[in-house]
């Protein structure tokens, strides 16, 4: 299930700014451990953002997104009380959804 994300969503001047901090190792598949074995790739591959249940953005990521990925984007519209939900799915098929209320 992964670890919880931190999501902040604030509406200002008709635009909702969303900031997400995910918790994920984001292994590239190029790194070697102390005994010289390649650590297999393990990364968030797909991210979906929803506003009040409606999909507004999807992202495809490769392993070169930083560990514990940060993502910020802006939604046109949105108001205090609206729900922003973020879902990620990683290369092992693990997935996690967290939701925040727009302030």
């Amino acid at each position: 299930m992964g670890h919880p994300m931190k999501i902040r969503a604030a509406s200002k001047g008709g635009v909702t700014e969303v900031k997400v901090l995910m918790n994920h190792e984001m292994e590239t598949g190029f790194r070697k451990d102390s005994s010289g074995n390649v650590v297999p790739a393990w990364f968030i591959a797909e991210v979906v953002a929803k506003l009040n249940g409606k999909e507004v953005m999807t992202a495809q990521w490769g392993p070169s997104v930083s560990k514990n990925p940060y993502l910020a984007f802006k939604i046109k519209g949105g108001k205090a009380g609206d729900k922003v939900a973020i879902t990620w799915t990683d290369s092992k098929g693990d997935t996690r959804t967290d939701e925040a209320t727009v302030s």
Binding site: V38, A45, E46, V56, M57, A59, Q60, S64, S66, L71
Partner: protein, 155 residues
């Protein structure tokens, strides 16, 4: 491990297709998204990556901006922001020219999203970073060199 040439020969000779299939699936990540553009993420040259994204012939545009610092002290965490002022921007992607696989992230943005996304990526060494933007079905780019003083790809 089979190298490129011997794989080709195997393909030419026919037969042994099962072996190739098994080899391919061993390499492939254990998941299958319809949307995840495997060829683009595994592209090793800019031309291959552009081709896999259907972005051949992308043009430099002043309407696309990369906002990032000139020097990244830590290549493991390089903040990047891309702002597109082009109307009908539907996709923003970040590519790093000197990473083993150039494509780092691609965002498909719907009509409800402002063409302004920020994320953090890893960079192995000093390199040009390209923001690739799709607007009105055409591709545009912005390029910025970011100097990395400490590589972020380990090993």
């Amino acid at each position: 491990m089979l190298n490129q040439t011997s794989r080709r020969q195997l393909l030419k000779n026919g037969g042994l297709l099962g072996l190739i299939a098994a080899f391919g699936s061993a390499l492939a990540p254990r998941f299958a998204f319809a949307a995840w553009n495997k060829a683009a993420f595994e592209g090793k040259t800019l031309a291959d990556t552009y081709k896999a994204m259907g972005a051949e012939g992308a043009k430099e545009s002043g309407e696309v901006q990369i906002l990032a610092s000139d020097i990244a002290e830590n290549g493991a965490v390089v903040p990047l922001q891309c702002v597109s002022k082009l109307p009908n921007t539907t996709q923003i992607a970040f590519l790093v020219e000197k990473n083993p696989n150039m494509l780092a992230a691609s965002f498909d943005i719907g009509p409800d999203i402002v063409a302004d996304v920020t994320t953090r990526i890893k960079m192995g060494q000093t390199s040009n970073v390209i923001a690739l933007v799709k607007a009105d079905g055409k591709f545009y780019t912005a390029t910025k060199e970011i100097k990395v003083t400490l590589g972020g790809c380990g090993g």
